[in-house]
Symmetry: C2
Subunit: 110 residues, 2 copies
């Protein structure tokens, strides 16, 4: 037996969780929202609106989109977005560690 968990942040409903986190990580990695969406089997449209909705509710931008230019455009994660990714990652990591330890103590050792 093993324990699993899902952790997300709410403010008048779900605001940030695993989906947006993975999408931002993929934007960081690929430098493009469309490539990021594709890597998650998500439509560009869905990914775009997902992030726009979160940005609206958080009150700040998570990604910046460049159009055209030498590199042909693309998207980068803003500093605020990187900060959110970092904090969420830390929350998940420490929470999962604790839950696994508690599960071990409560279910497997007694």
């Amino acid at each position: 037996m093993e324990v699993k968990c899902k952790i997300w942040i709410e403010e008048d409903g779900k605001i940030f969780g695993k989906g947006p986190y993975e999408l931002l990580k993929a934007v960081e990695k690929t430098g493009s929202l469309s490539r990021a969406a594709k890597s998650m089997d998500m439509s560009y449209n869905k990914a775009f609106h997902l992030l726009k909705d979160i940005e609206k509710r958080l009150g700040y931008k998570l990604i910046e989109t460049q159009t055209g230019g030498k590199s042909g455009g693309g998207s980068t994660v803003t500093n605020a977005g990187k900060d959110m990714v970092k904090r969420y990652e830390k929350l998940i990591k420490l929470s999962e560690d604790t839950i696994s330890k508690l599960f071990q103590e409560i279910f497997l050792e007694t």
Copy 2:
């Protein structure tokens, strides 16, 4: 902003989580699987198969059903079932406390 979580136990797929936990609590409270199912807006059939499937995978009974008799039958939670309820409750309580504390530290205080 607040943090939310969902915690469940797996063994070759999901085995026990909030749904079965609440169903067993309702059986304890009502003394009947059909009343317990009704209180959760679940069909008797769904509740019955949910528990039977878990029992099969755990290898022990979670509820005992009495038919007929003076009290007209009903269901009670077995000692093993009560133990599972107690452990899951403890896991959830301690995990939620920790996650809230981590969220506070990581998102609200820094």
